[in-house]
Symmetry: C2
Subunit: 255 residues, 2 copies
């Protein structure tokens, strides 16, 4: 993103992509002025390219002359095989974990230094810890992220530390030594516990879905309100589900 | 799509969008030759624009020099508010319906003459009736589609009939009079029963989520293996869930 803001118009394609990339997870709609501010495009250029995106279905125009992401991009985005194959295999196990725990359950993968959430099973006991599918959270601040990081190649840990362990709550692990210690414990235990490191009031238990090389291909988590948390009870359930998914992936025909 | 195939290169933006649109729901990856064939673009042009899409994250290149839809498009597509707001409200009710029925549960909206599937709750009792999120099915051939069509503006029914009621299985409703009769029954009953009209062996029960104007804003369905089907038992459960979702939408702040 940052690159697109600084270099808004190298090619027409990059301008169109910058317009799509201007939408953040929390944006419902953006005005033309907001699109221009975020992309650095001139109003006439942004208007013309946005018009093409609307004609194609990638953007939609609201009654109030604002733009929102169109249904067609949802349809095409769901074809990303990295997400689809994993989500298809994991979904029944996530459902079972949700039924057993009655808590919100998530599936995420690591992309660079962030966890990208692929799927959520959320019930009526909603915890104030929104991790919607398509959202990203930092690796050091949640149970999910730590489960992914503990079972990532070692250089990823170094990179995450080098990038800075941003403190989000008083509970965030912000010291390299503390992070190394936490990751070592996660590798011993086989699961990660998150304690309000990103969202106050939310506690999580996460376990990696390990590939044949011992690295995490994904992770799953259960997120619980901190007053209800029973990590000792949740750990085995989350680990069992994660191992079941890993076994299922192993038996899938590869591409 | 058809328009893009016939007019592949009006603008650079339309070429980039044609490349993304070349991916069908069933495609895991496409070669450059396949992309050229589907978009009508010259190999050099397709290669250059695909390279820009790869740099941005909209496409990914596989080890075998093929292209697949990238994680970034999944992330942006999930920001489509038309999907997100509805899926967020519906999800807990879909979970409950899945728990009660133990069957696969779906949420879809009407887009033109097709049902676009937004969310699925699938368990281990998988039925051979794949309707993955982001997929499309015709309105006349499934319970979901008929529930959407029965509560659509009347001109939509005329348009669907004018477009041709393609027969997919021996059970598909392919006669206009039979479709009108089926839709009238659905309006009386408040739910639609699908009987192997699209997938042999799959039976469904679907109910509309009605807006204040009496038209369907979406619909939900339970899909069951035909040998397990108990439509009389499923109808009230599906209707109850659909009405609960509609009530919840009514109480949401509007945008």
């Amino acid at each position: 993103m940052a690159g697109h803001i600084r270099e808004p118009g190298r090619t027409t394609t990059s301008r169109a992509l910058a317009l799509l990339g201007a939408f953040k997870p929390e944006d419902t709609s953006l005005s033309l002025a907001e699109l221009c501010r975020r992309t650095g495009l001139a109003p006439a250029t942004a208007h013309r390219i946005a018009g093409e995106l609307v004609a194609w279905g990638g953007l939609e125009r609201t009654d109030g002359h604002r733009y929102e992401i169109g249904l067609r991009l949802f349809e095409i985005g769901m074809r990303a095989p990295g997400r689809r194959e994993l989500a298809d295999v994991a979904m029944p196990f996530l459902e079972t974990l949700h039924e057993v725990t009655r808590e919100n359950v998530y599936l995420a993968i690591r992309d660079g230094h962030e966890a990208v959430y692929l799927h959520a099973v959320t019930g009526t006991h909603a915890v104030a810890a929104p991790a919607p599918p398509g959202g990203r959270l930092p690796l050091h601040a949640t149970g999910m992220g730590k489960a992914l990081l503990a079972f990532a190649p070692p250089e990823v840990v170094d990179e995450v530390i080098a990038a800075g362990l941003t403190r989000r709550t008083p509970y965030t692990i912000a010291e390299p030594a503390a992070l190394h210690q936490a990751l070592a414990k996660i590798r011993r235990d086989g699961y990660a516990a998150g304690n309000q490191g990103y969202f106050l009031g939310a506690v999580s238990v996460a376990a990696p879905i390990l590939g044949p090389d011992g690295h995490a291909v994904a992770a799953i988590s259960v997120v619980v309100h901190s007053v209800r948390a029973n990590v000792a009870r949740l750990g085995p359930a989350v680990r069992t589900a994660a191992k079941s998914i890993a076994r299922q992936i192993d038996t899938q025909p590869s591409h």
